[in-house]
Symmetry: C2
Subunit: 253 residues, 2 copies
Amino acid sequence: MRVIAIANQKGGTGKTTTAVNLSAGLALRKQKVLLLDADPQAHSSKHLGVENPEVTLEHVMSGKVPAVKATYETELENLFVIPSSLELGNYEARLVTEVGRETLLRNAIKPLHKHVDFILIDCPPSLDVMTINALSAANEVFIVSQSEYLSLDGVRQLSDTVEIVQGRINPTLKISGIILTMHNDRIVLSREVFGLLEKSFPGKVFRTKIRRNIRLAEAPSRGQPIQRYAPNSRGARDYNALAKEVLSQWSRN
Amino acid sequence: MRVIAIANQKGGTGKTTTAVNLSAGLALRKQKVLLLDADPQAHSSKHLGVENPEVTLEHVMSGKVPAVKATYETELENLFVIPSSLELGNYEARLVTEVGRETLLRNAIKPLHKHVDFILIDCPPSLDVMTINALSAANEVFIVSQSEYLSLDGVRQLSDTVEIVQGRINPTLKISGIILTMHNDRIVLSREVFGLLEKSFPGKVFRTKIRRNIRLAEAPSRGQPIQRYAPNSRGARDYNALAKEVLSQWSRN
Ligand SMILES: Nc1ncnc2c1ncn2[C@@H]1O[C@H](COP(=O)(O)OP(=O)(O)OP(=O)(O)O)[C@@H](O)[C@H]1O
Ligand SMILES: Nc1ncnc2c1ncn2[C@@H]1O[C@H](COP(=O)(O)OP(=O)(O)OP(=O)(O)O)[C@@H](O)[C@H]1O
Ligand SMILES: [Mg+2]
Ligand SMILES: [Mg+2]
Protein backbone atom coordinates (compact mmCIF):
# COMPACT_ATOMS: atom_id res chain seq x y z
CA MET A 1 0.00 0.00 0.00
CA ARG A 2 1.62 3.25 -1.14
CA VAL A 3 0.40 6.75 -0.22
CA ILE A 4 2.03 9.29 -2.54
CA ALA A 5 1.70 13.09 -2.45
CA ILE A 6 1.97 14.71 -5.93
CA ALA A 7 3.44 18.09 -5.08
CA ASN A 8 5.25 21.28 -6.05
CA GLN A 9 4.31 24.70 -4.73
CA LYS A 10 5.39 26.19 -8.07
CA GLY A 11 2.22 26.67 -10.07
CA GLY A 12 1.36 24.95 -13.33
CA THR A 13 4.03 22.22 -13.32
CA GLY A 14 1.58 19.42 -14.23
CA LYS A 15 0.56 18.09 -10.78
CA THR A 16 -3.09 17.58 -11.68
CA THR A 17 -2.33 16.17 -15.14
CA THR A 18 0.11 13.71 -13.50
CA ALA A 19 -2.14 12.79 -10.55
CA VAL A 20 -5.04 11.89 -12.86
CA ASN A 21 -3.17 10.17 -15.70
CA LEU A 22 -0.69 8.27 -13.51
CA SER A 23 -3.62 7.07 -11.35
CA ALA A 24 -5.37 5.89 -14.51
CA GLY A 25 -2.18 4.19 -15.77
CA LEU A 26 -1.85 2.29 -12.48
CA ALA A 27 -5.59 1.38 -12.48
CA LEU A 28 -5.24 -0.08 -16.01
CA ARG A 29 -2.41 -2.28 -14.62
CA LYS A 30 -4.91 -3.84 -12.19
CA GLN A 31 -3.93 -1.66 -9.20
CA LYS A 32 -6.74 -0.39 -7.02
CA VAL A 33 -6.18 3.36 -6.89
CA LEU A 34 -7.79 6.15 -4.87
CA LEU A 35 -7.07 9.74 -5.93
CA LEU A 36 -7.56 12.45 -3.29
CA ASP A 37 -8.11 15.97 -4.63
CA ALA A 38 -6.52 18.21 -1.98
CA ASP A 39 -6.70 21.36 -4.13
CA PRO A 40 -9.71 23.70 -3.71
CA GLN A 41 -9.46 24.41 -7.47
CA ALA A 42 -10.89 20.86 -7.74
CA HIS A 43 -9.15 20.27 -11.07
CA SER A 44 -8.48 16.55 -10.49
CA SER A 45 -12.17 16.11 -9.71
CA LYS A 46 -13.21 17.87 -12.93
CA HIS A 47 -10.58 16.01 -14.93
CA LEU A 48 -12.27 12.76 -13.84
CA GLY A 49 -15.74 14.01 -14.66
CA VAL A 50 -16.89 14.74 -11.09
CA GLU A 51 -18.52 18.20 -11.15
CA ASN A 52 -20.23 19.88 -8.15
CA PRO A 53 -20.01 16.88 -5.81
CA GLU A 54 -22.26 16.94 -2.72
CA VAL A 55 -19.76 15.18 -0.49
CA THR A 56 -16.09 16.18 -0.69
CA LEU A 57 -12.73 15.90 1.06
CA GLU A 58 -13.80 18.75 3.31
CA HIS A 59 -16.59 16.61 4.80
CA VAL A 60 -14.07 13.80 5.37
CA MET A 61 -11.48 15.99 7.10
CA SER A 62 -14.05 17.73 9.27
CA GLY A 63 -15.37 14.35 10.40
CA LYS A 64 -18.88 14.84 8.98
CA VAL A 65 -18.60 11.81 6.71
CA PRO A 66 -16.38 8.68 6.76
CA ALA A 67 -13.91 8.59 3.85
CA VAL A 68 -15.57 5.59 2.23
CA LYS A 69 -18.84 7.59 1.87
CA ALA A 70 -17.01 10.36 -0.07
CA THR A 71 -15.44 7.93 -2.56
CA TYR A 72 -16.75 8.29 -6.11
CA GLU A 73 -16.37 5.84 -8.99
CA THR A 74 -14.81 6.93 -12.31
CA GLU A 75 -14.97 5.51 -15.85
CA LEU A 76 -12.11 3.18 -14.97
CA GLU A 77 -12.98 0.11 -12.94
CA ASN A 78 -10.08 0.31 -10.45
CA LEU A 79 -9.92 4.10 -10.10
CA PHE A 80 -11.83 6.01 -7.38
CA VAL A 81 -11.69 9.65 -6.34
CA ILE A 82 -12.51 11.72 -3.24
CA PRO A 83 -13.31 15.07 -4.87
CA SER A 84 -12.78 18.60 -3.67
CA SER A 85 -14.58 21.92 -4.08
CA LEU A 86 -14.06 25.62 -3.46
CA GLU A 87 -15.50 25.00 0.01
CA LEU A 88 -12.24 23.25 0.89
CA GLY A 89 -10.54 26.65 0.65
CA ASN A 90 -12.92 28.14 3.21
CA TYR A 91 -12.55 25.11 5.48
CA GLU A 92 -8.77 25.41 5.31
CA ALA A 93 -8.93 29.06 6.42
CA ARG A 94 -10.99 28.04 9.48
CA LEU A 95 -8.41 25.40 10.50
CA VAL A 96 -5.82 27.93 11.66
CA THR A 97 -6.39 27.42 15.38
CA GLU A 98 -7.66 23.82 15.22
CA VAL A 99 -5.61 21.46 17.40
CA GLY A 100 -3.97 18.66 15.37
CA ARG A 101 -4.92 20.39 12.09
CA GLU A 102 -1.88 18.99 10.25
CA THR A 103 -2.88 15.33 10.65
CA LEU A 104 -6.64 15.49 10.03
CA LEU A 105 -6.28 13.97 6.56
CA ARG A 106 -3.96 11.18 7.72
CA ASN A 107 -6.42 10.06 10.42
CA ALA A 108 -9.46 10.35 8.14
CA ILE A 109 -8.06 8.08 5.40
CA LYS A 110 -6.46 5.42 7.62
CA PRO A 111 -9.55 3.17 7.34
CA LEU A 112 -9.14 3.08 3.54
CA HIS A 113 -5.57 1.73 3.53
CA LYS A 114 -6.64 -1.93 3.54
CA HIS A 115 -8.99 -1.50 0.55
CA VAL A 116 -6.55 -0.04 -2.02
CA ASP A 117 -3.05 -0.52 -3.48
CA PHE A 118 -2.32 3.18 -4.08
CA ILE A 119 -3.54 6.49 -2.68
CA LEU A 120 -2.36 9.52 -4.74
CA ILE A 121 -2.92 13.05 -3.42
CA ASP A 122 -3.09 16.02 -5.85
CA CYS A 123 -1.70 19.07 -4.00
CA PRO A 124 -2.39 22.80 -4.55
CA PRO A 125 0.38 25.22 -5.65
CA SER A 126 1.38 26.25 -2.11
CA LEU A 127 2.94 24.92 1.11
CA ASP A 128 -0.08 25.71 3.26
CA VAL A 129 -2.20 23.55 5.48
CA MET A 130 -3.63 21.27 2.73
CA THR A 131 -0.18 20.41 1.38
CA ILE A 132 1.13 19.79 4.92
CA ASN A 133 -1.85 17.50 5.52
CA ALA A 134 -0.99 15.61 2.34
CA LEU A 135 2.67 15.29 3.41
CA SER A 136 1.59 13.97 6.83
CA ALA A 137 -0.78 11.44 5.29
CA ALA A 138 1.71 10.18 2.67
CA ASN A 139 4.71 7.86 2.87
CA GLU A 140 6.19 9.17 -0.36
CA VAL A 141 6.37 12.38 -2.38
CA PHE A 142 6.59 12.61 -6.15
CA ILE A 143 7.80 16.10 -7.06
CA VAL A 144 6.36 17.15 -10.42
CA SER A 145 8.49 19.70 -12.23
CA GLN A 146 8.72 21.24 -15.66
CA SER A 147 12.22 21.27 -17.10
CA GLU A 148 12.37 25.04 -16.84
CA TYR A 149 14.41 27.38 -14.71
CA LEU A 150 11.61 28.80 -12.48
CA SER A 151 10.45 25.26 -11.61
CA LEU A 152 13.88 24.32 -10.24
CA ASP A 153 13.45 26.76 -7.41
CA GLY A 154 10.32 25.02 -6.16
CA VAL A 155 12.05 21.62 -6.03
CA ARG A 156 14.73 22.82 -3.60
CA GLN A 157 12.22 24.56 -1.34
CA LEU A 158 9.87 21.56 -1.30
CA SER A 159 12.68 19.21 -0.40
CA ASP A 160 13.49 21.44 2.60
CA THR A 161 9.83 21.31 3.65
CA VAL A 162 9.74 17.50 3.32
CA GLU A 163 12.71 17.28 5.70
CA ILE A 164 10.88 19.43 8.27
CA VAL A 165 7.69 17.33 8.01
CA GLN A 166 9.83 14.16 8.29
CA GLY A 167 11.51 15.46 11.43
CA ARG A 168 8.41 16.75 13.20
CA ILE A 169 5.23 14.96 12.05
CA ASN A 170 5.86 12.02 9.70
CA PRO A 171 9.17 10.09 9.95
CA THR A 172 8.12 7.67 7.16
CA LEU A 173 7.98 10.42 4.53
CA LYS A 174 10.57 10.44 1.73
CA ILE A 175 11.00 11.94 -1.76
CA SER A 176 10.82 8.79 -3.87
CA GLY A 177 10.66 10.31 -7.31
CA ILE A 178 10.90 13.42 -9.48
CA ILE A 179 8.68 13.49 -12.57
CA LEU A 180 9.61 15.78 -15.46
CA THR A 181 6.63 17.11 -17.43
CA MET A 182 6.18 19.08 -20.66
CA HIS A 183 9.69 17.95 -21.47
CA ASN A 184 11.33 18.42 -24.87
CA ASP A 185 14.77 16.84 -25.36
CA ARG A 186 15.46 19.02 -28.40
CA ILE A 187 15.43 22.18 -26.24
CA VAL A 188 18.73 23.03 -24.54
CA LEU A 189 17.00 24.49 -21.45
CA SER A 190 15.09 21.24 -20.91
CA ARG A 191 18.28 19.17 -21.08
CA GLU A 192 20.10 21.62 -18.79
CA VAL A 193 17.38 21.49 -16.09
CA PHE A 194 17.17 17.69 -16.36
CA GLY A 195 20.93 17.54 -15.78
CA LEU A 196 20.72 19.85 -12.75
CA LEU A 197 17.91 17.77 -11.19
CA GLU A 198 19.81 14.50 -11.78
CA LYS A 199 22.85 16.01 -10.04
CA SER A 200 20.89 17.36 -7.02
CA PHE A 201 18.70 14.25 -6.61
CA PRO A 202 20.78 11.31 -7.91
CA GLY A 203 18.69 8.27 -8.80
CA LYS A 204 15.36 9.99 -8.05
CA VAL A 205 14.43 11.41 -11.47
CA PHE A 206 12.18 8.94 -13.30
CA ARG A 207 13.62 7.76 -16.64
CA THR A 208 10.17 8.28 -18.21
CA LYS A 209 9.82 11.96 -19.12
CA ILE A 210 6.36 13.26 -19.95
CA ARG A 211 6.57 15.05 -23.31
CA ARG A 212 4.47 18.08 -24.20
CA ASN A 213 1.32 16.80 -25.95
CA ILE A 214 -1.77 18.89 -26.71
CA ARG A 215 -4.08 15.89 -26.09
CA LEU A 216 -3.13 16.10 -22.38
CA ALA A 217 -4.42 19.70 -22.28
CA GLU A 218 -7.63 18.73 -24.10
CA ALA A 219 -8.54 15.73 -21.93
CA PRO A 220 -9.69 17.70 -18.82
CA SER A 221 -12.49 19.38 -20.79
CA ARG A 222 -13.91 15.92 -21.58
CA GLY A 223 -13.69 14.80 -17.91
CA GLN A 224 -11.53 11.81 -18.90
CA PRO A 225 -8.02 10.53 -18.22
CA ILE A 226 -5.80 10.54 -21.31
CA GLN A 227 -6.03 6.75 -21.66
CA ARG A 228 -9.78 7.13 -22.37
CA TYR A 229 -9.73 10.44 -24.27
CA ALA A 230 -6.81 9.66 -26.61
CA PRO A 231 -5.44 6.17 -25.90
CA ASN A 232 -2.95 6.23 -28.81
CA SER A 233 -1.49 9.65 -28.03
CA ARG A 234 2.07 10.33 -26.86
CA GLY A 235 0.56 11.54 -23.58
CA ALA A 236 -1.17 8.20 -22.96
CA ARG A 237 1.97 6.24 -23.84
CA ASP A 238 4.15 8.41 -21.56
CA TYR A 239 1.86 8.11 -18.54
CA ASN A 240 1.41 4.37 -19.08
CA ALA A 241 5.22 4.01 -19.25
CA LEU A 242 5.50 6.07 -16.04
CA ALA A 243 2.96 3.80 -14.31
CA LYS A 244 5.03 0.77 -15.32
CA GLU A 245 8.20 2.40 -13.96
CA VAL A 246 6.46 3.33 -10.68
CA LEU A 247 5.39 -0.31 -10.22
CA SER A 248 8.86 -1.68 -10.96
CA GLN A 249 10.38 0.90 -8.57
CA TRP A 250 8.42 -0.55 -5.68
CA SER A 251 9.43 -4.13 -6.33
CA ARG A 252 13.06 -2.91 -6.30
CA ASN A 253 12.97 -1.24 -2.87
CA MET B 1 -0.93 56.67 -12.16
CA ARG B 2 -2.12 53.07 -12.62
CA VAL B 3 -1.84 50.35 -9.98
CA ILE B 4 -2.41 46.96 -11.65
CA ALA B 5 -2.55 43.51 -9.99
CA ILE B 6 -1.29 40.71 -12.27
CA ALA B 7 -3.34 37.78 -11.01
CA ASN B 8 -4.76 34.29 -11.46
CA GLN B 9 -4.91 31.71 -8.65
CA LYS B 10 -4.41 28.99 -11.28
CA GLY B 11 -0.76 28.10 -11.18
CA GLY B 12 1.73 28.56 -14.01
CA THR B 13 -0.35 30.81 -16.29
CA GLY B 14 2.52 33.27 -16.91
CA LYS B 15 1.88 35.89 -14.19
CA THR B 16 5.57 36.41 -13.34
CA THR B 17 6.69 36.32 -16.99
CA THR B 18 4.03 38.95 -17.77
CA ALA B 19 4.68 41.14 -14.71
CA VAL B 20 8.40 41.38 -15.50
CA ASN B 21 8.29 41.71 -19.30
CA LEU B 22 5.28 44.03 -19.45
CA SER B 23 6.93 46.24 -16.81
CA ALA B 24 10.08 46.32 -18.94
CA GLY B 25 8.06 47.08 -22.09
CA LEU B 26 6.40 50.05 -20.34
CA ALA B 27 9.75 51.27 -18.93
CA LEU B 28 11.27 51.23 -22.43
CA ARG B 29 8.38 53.50 -23.48
CA LYS B 30 9.55 56.11 -20.97
CA GLN B 31 7.04 55.14 -18.25
CA LYS B 32 8.34 55.07 -14.69
CA VAL B 33 7.42 51.60 -13.44
CA LEU B 34 7.57 49.96 -10.00
CA LEU B 35 7.10 46.18 -9.84
CA LEU B 36 6.00 44.73 -6.48
CA ASP B 37 6.76 41.02 -5.95
CA ALA B 38 3.89 39.81 -3.76
CA ASP B 39 4.74 36.12 -4.20
CA PRO B 40 6.95 34.43 -1.56
CA GLN B 41 8.43 32.34 -4.40
CA ALA B 42 10.19 35.66 -5.27
CA HIS B 43 10.31 34.76 -8.94
CA SER B 44 9.82 38.34 -10.22
CA SER B 45 12.73 39.41 -8.01
CA LYS B 46 14.99 36.67 -9.42
CA HIS B 47 13.82 37.37 -12.98
CA LEU B 48 15.10 40.94 -12.51
CA GLY B 49 18.40 39.82 -11.04
CA VAL B 50 17.63 40.60 -7.38
CA GLU B 51 18.72 37.55 -5.34
CA ASN B 52 18.63 37.32 -1.52
CA PRO B 53 17.64 40.95 -0.90
CA GLU B 54 18.13 42.30 2.64
CA VAL B 55 15.06 44.52 2.56
CA THR B 56 11.84 43.13 1.04
CA LEU B 57 8.10 43.72 0.71
CA GLU B 58 7.67 42.06 4.10
CA HIS B 59 9.63 44.87 5.78
CA VAL B 60 7.44 47.41 3.98
CA MET B 61 4.13 45.79 4.94
CA SER B 62 5.16 45.27 8.57
CA GLY B 63 6.11 48.93 8.78
CA LYS B 64 9.82 48.31 9.55
CA VAL B 65 10.96 50.21 6.47
CA PRO B 66 9.30 52.88 4.26
CA ALA B 67 8.52 51.63 0.75
CA VAL B 68 11.04 53.93 -0.91
CA LYS B 69 13.88 52.30 1.12
CA ALA B 70 12.94 48.82 -0.22
CA THR B 71 12.99 49.95 -3.85
CA TYR B 72 15.80 48.40 -5.93
CA GLU B 73 17.06 49.53 -9.33
CA THR B 74 17.18 47.15 -12.30
CA GLU B 75 19.13 47.11 -15.58
CA LEU B 76 16.45 49.32 -17.10
CA GLU B 77 16.56 53.00 -16.23
CA ASN B 78 12.81 53.46 -15.57
CA LEU B 79 12.14 50.08 -13.93
CA PHE B 80 12.32 49.56 -10.16
CA VAL B 81 11.33 46.56 -8.00
CA ILE B 82 10.39 45.91 -4.39
CA PRO B 83 11.51 42.29 -4.02
CA SER B 84 10.11 39.45 -1.98
CA SER B 85 11.56 36.43 -0.20
CA LEU B 86 10.41 33.20 1.45
CA GLU B 87 10.10 35.23 4.67
CA LEU B 88 6.99 36.84 3.13
CA GLY B 89 5.29 33.45 3.42
CA ASN B 90 6.00 33.27 7.15
CA TYR B 91 4.91 36.89 7.63
CA GLU B 92 1.64 36.19 5.81
CA ALA B 93 0.88 33.26 8.14
CA ARG B 94 1.33 35.55 11.15
CA LEU B 95 -1.14 38.11 9.75
CA VAL B 96 -4.21 35.95 10.38
CA THR B 97 -5.43 37.87 13.41
CA GLU B 98 -3.89 41.27 12.56
CA VAL B 99 -6.49 44.05 12.42
CA GLY B 100 -6.66 45.69 8.98
CA ARG B 101 -4.44 42.96 7.47
CA GLU B 102 -6.08 43.26 4.03
CA THR B 103 -5.03 46.88 3.44
CA LEU B 104 -1.45 46.86 4.80
CA LEU B 105 0.05 46.92 1.29
CA ARG B 106 -2.26 49.69 0.07
CA ASN B 107 -1.29 51.99 2.94
CA ALA B 108 2.42 51.16 2.69
CA ILE B 109 2.73 52.06 -0.99
CA LYS B 110 0.56 55.22 -1.01
CA PRO B 111 3.62 57.49 -0.61
CA LEU B 112 5.05 56.09 -3.86
CA HIS B 113 2.08 56.97 -6.06
CA LYS B 114 3.37 60.44 -6.93
CA HIS B 115 6.81 59.17 -8.04
CA VAL B 116 5.76 56.60 -10.68
CA ASP B 117 3.44 56.14 -13.69
CA PHE B 118 2.73 52.43 -13.11
CA ILE B 119 2.80 50.04 -10.17
CA LEU B 120 2.45 46.36 -11.22
CA ILE B 121 1.95 43.66 -8.57
CA ASP B 122 2.96 40.02 -9.30
CA CYS B 123 0.55 37.78 -7.36
CA PRO B 124 1.04 34.21 -6.05
CA PRO B 125 -1.11 31.29 -7.34
CA SER B 126 -3.77 31.58 -4.60
CA LEU B 127 -6.52 33.87 -3.29
CA ASP B 128 -4.99 34.26 0.15
CA VAL B 129 -3.93 37.31 2.12
CA MET B 130 -1.17 38.49 -0.27
CA THR B 131 -3.47 38.42 -3.30
CA ILE B 132 -6.24 40.19 -1.34
CA ASN B 133 -3.68 42.84 -0.31
CA ALA B 134 -2.74 43.29 -3.96
CA LEU B 135 -6.42 43.62 -4.97
CA SER B 136 -6.97 46.22 -2.23
CA ALA B 137 -3.91 48.23 -3.29
CA ALA B 138 -4.71 48.14 -7.02
CA ASN B 139 -7.21 50.06 -9.17
CA GLU B 140 -7.08 47.47 -11.95
CA VAL B 141 -6.61 43.74 -12.42
CA PHE B 142 -5.02 42.07 -15.45
CA ILE B 143 -6.01 38.42 -15.41
CA VAL B 144 -3.25 36.33 -17.01
CA SER B 145 -4.52 33.08 -18.50
CA GLN B 146 -3.23 30.34 -20.76
CA SER B 147 -5.61 29.45 -23.56
CA GLU B 148 -6.24 26.04 -22.00
CA TYR B 149 -9.28 24.50 -20.39
CA LEU B 150 -8.03 24.29 -16.76
CA SER B 151 -7.08 28.00 -16.84
CA LEU B 152 -10.63 29.06 -17.75
CA ASP B 153 -11.84 27.92 -14.36
CA GLY B 154 -9.53 30.31 -12.56
CA VAL B 155 -10.77 33.30 -14.54
CA ARG B 156 -14.38 32.84 -13.45
CA GLN B 157 -13.43 32.35 -9.78
CA LEU B 158 -11.11 35.37 -9.77
CA SER B 159 -13.75 37.59 -11.28
CA ASP B 160 -16.11 36.58 -8.44
CA THR B 161 -13.39 37.46 -5.91
CA VAL B 162 -12.78 40.86 -7.57
CA GLU B 163 -16.48 41.65 -7.18
CA ILE B 164 -16.34 40.83 -3.45
CA VAL B 165 -13.22 42.99 -2.94
CA GLN B 166 -14.89 45.78 -4.93
CA GLY B 167 -17.99 45.60 -2.76
CA ARG B 168 -16.24 45.39 0.62
CA ILE B 169 -12.73 46.93 0.55
CA ASN B 170 -11.88 48.68 -2.73
CA PRO B 171 -14.68 50.21 -4.83
CA THR B 172 -12.20 51.50 -7.46
CA LEU B 173 -11.09 47.98 -8.45
CA LYS B 174 -12.04 46.65 -11.90
CA ILE B 175 -10.89 43.93 -14.29
CA SER B 176 -9.44 46.05 -17.07
CA GLY B 177 -7.80 43.36 -19.15
CA ILE B 178 -7.28 39.66 -19.82
CA ILE B 179 -3.88 38.66 -21.20
CA LEU B 180 -3.56 35.37 -23.08
CA THR B 181 -0.16 33.69 -22.72
CA MET B 182 1.59 30.70 -24.34
CA HIS B 183 -0.99 31.09 -27.08
CA ASN B 184 -0.85 29.20 -30.38
CA ASP B 185 -3.47 30.14 -33.01
CA ARG B 186 -2.85 26.92 -34.94
CA ILE B 187 -4.15 24.81 -32.01
CA VAL B 188 -7.95 24.35 -31.91
CA LEU B 189 -8.05 24.35 -28.07
CA SER B 190 -6.30 27.75 -27.96
CA ARG B 191 -8.80 29.26 -30.39
CA GLU B 192 -11.73 27.70 -28.51
CA VAL B 193 -10.63 29.09 -25.12
CA PHE B 194 -9.93 32.51 -26.67
CA GLY B 195 -13.48 32.51 -28.06
CA LEU B 196 -14.96 31.54 -24.68
CA LEU B 197 -13.05 34.32 -22.89
CA GLU B 198 -14.09 36.91 -25.48
CA LYS B 199 -17.72 35.89 -24.96
CA SER B 200 -17.58 35.96 -21.14
CA PHE B 201 -15.58 39.20 -20.94
CA PRO B 202 -16.46 41.20 -24.06
CA GLY B 203 -13.92 43.90 -24.93
CA LYS B 204 -11.53 42.91 -22.13
CA VAL B 205 -9.23 40.40 -23.85
CA PHE B 206 -6.14 42.21 -25.18
CA ARG B 207 -5.70 41.90 -28.95
CA THR B 208 -1.98 41.18 -28.37
CA LYS B 209 -1.62 37.49 -27.53
CA ILE B 210 1.68 36.32 -26.05
CA ARG B 211 2.90 33.38 -28.13
CA ARG B 212 4.87 30.46 -26.71
CA ASN B 213 8.56 31.30 -27.09
CA ILE B 214 11.43 29.40 -25.43
CA ARG B 215 13.46 32.62 -24.97
CA LEU B 216 10.84 33.72 -22.39
CA ALA B 217 11.56 30.59 -20.34
CA GLU B 218 15.34 31.10 -20.62
CA ALA B 219 15.39 34.78 -19.61
CA PRO B 220 14.72 34.24 -15.84
CA SER B 221 17.95 32.24 -15.44
CA ARG B 222 19.89 35.28 -16.69
CA GLY B 223 18.08 37.68 -14.32
CA GLN B 224 16.97 39.83 -17.25
CA PRO B 225 13.70 40.91 -18.86
CA ILE B 226 13.22 39.52 -22.37
CA GLN B 227 13.97 42.90 -23.98
CA ARG B 228 17.55 42.66 -22.63
CA TYR B 229 18.07 38.88 -22.90
CA ALA B 230 16.71 38.42 -26.44
CA PRO B 231 15.53 41.77 -27.83
CA ASN B 232 14.73 40.38 -31.32
CA SER B 233 12.74 37.37 -30.11
CA ARG B 234 9.02 36.83 -30.60
CA GLY B 235 8.65 37.10 -26.82
CA ALA B 236 10.19 40.59 -26.78
CA ARG B 237 8.06 41.75 -29.72
CA ASP B 238 4.86 40.41 -28.12
CA TYR B 239 5.46 42.04 -24.73
CA ASN B 240 6.46 45.33 -26.37
CA ALA B 241 3.26 45.22 -28.44
CA LEU B 242 1.28 44.50 -25.25
CA ALA B 243 2.91 47.50 -23.52
CA LYS B 244 1.88 49.69 -26.44
CA GLU B 245 -1.71 48.38 -26.26
CA VAL B 246 -1.83 48.95 -22.48
CA LEU B 247 -0.75 52.57 -22.97
CA SER B 248 -3.30 53.19 -25.73
CA GLN B 249 -6.02 51.57 -23.58
CA TRP B 250 -5.54 54.18 -20.89
CA SER B 251 -5.78 57.14 -23.25
CA ARG B 252 -9.06 55.59 -24.50
CA ASN B 253 -10.79 55.38 -21.09
N1 LIG C 1 2.66 17.13 -20.88
C1 LIG C 1 1.80 18.13 -21.14
N2 LIG C 1 1.64 18.54 -22.42
C2 LIG C 1 0.81 19.58 -22.70
N3 LIG C 1 0.09 20.27 -21.79
C3 LIG C 1 0.20 19.91 -20.52
C4 LIG C 1 1.03 18.82 -20.11
N4 LIG C 1 0.93 18.68 -18.76
C5 LIG C 1 0.07 19.64 -18.34
N5 LIG C 1 -0.39 20.37 -19.40
C6 LIG C 1 -1.27 21.56 -19.34
O1 LIG C 1 -0.53 22.57 -18.68
C7 LIG C 1 -1.37 23.27 -17.76
C8 LIG C 1 -0.81 23.07 -16.34
O2 LIG C 1 -0.96 21.73 -15.93
P1 LIG C 1 -1.69 21.33 -14.56
O3 LIG C 1 -2.91 22.16 -14.37
O4 LIG C 1 -1.83 19.86 -14.52
O5 LIG C 1 -0.57 21.81 -13.53
P2 LIG C 1 -0.70 21.94 -11.95
O6 LIG C 1 0.67 21.85 -11.41
O7 LIG C 1 -1.71 20.97 -11.45
O8 LIG C 1 -1.26 23.45 -11.79
P3 LIG C 1 -1.68 24.13 -10.38
O9 LIG C 1 -0.37 24.62 -9.82
O10 LIG C 1 -2.61 25.25 -10.78
O11 LIG C 1 -2.34 23.08 -9.55
C9 LIG C 1 -2.77 22.69 -17.93
O12 LIG C 1 -3.48 23.53 -18.82
C10 LIG C 1 -2.53 21.32 -18.54
O13 LIG C 1 -3.60 20.92 -19.35
N1 LIG D 1 4.98 32.77 -23.56
C1 LIG D 1 5.75 31.83 -22.98
N2 LIG D 1 6.46 30.99 -23.76
C2 LIG D 1 7.21 30.01 -23.20
N3 LIG D 1 7.34 29.79 -21.88
C3 LIG D 1 6.67 30.60 -21.05
C4 LIG D 1 5.85 31.68 -21.53
N4 LIG D 1 5.32 32.32 -20.45
C5 LIG D 1 5.78 31.67 -19.37
N5 LIG D 1 6.61 30.66 -19.71
C6 LIG D 1 7.24 29.68 -18.80
O1 LIG D 1 6.16 28.92 -18.24
C7 LIG D 1 6.39 28.71 -16.84
C8 LIG D 1 5.25 29.36 -16.05
O2 LIG D 1 5.31 30.77 -16.17
P1 LIG D 1 5.36 31.72 -14.88
O3 LIG D 1 6.25 31.15 -13.84
O4 LIG D 1 5.59 33.10 -15.34
O5 LIG D 1 3.83 31.56 -14.41
P2 LIG D 1 3.19 32.05 -13.04
O6 LIG D 1 1.74 32.21 -13.30
O7 LIG D 1 3.92 33.22 -12.53
O8 LIG D 1 3.44 30.78 -12.07
P3 LIG D 1 3.07 30.73 -10.50
O9 LIG D 1 1.61 30.35 -10.50
O10 LIG D 1 3.96 29.63 -9.94
O11 LIG D 1 3.36 32.07 -9.94
C9 LIG D 1 7.75 29.30 -16.53
O12 LIG D 1 8.71 28.27 -16.59
C10 LIG D 1 7.97 30.32 -17.65
O13 LIG D 1 9.32 30.49 -17.93
MG1 LIG E 1 -3.36 21.31 -10.17
MG1 LIG F 1 4.71 33.55 -10.61
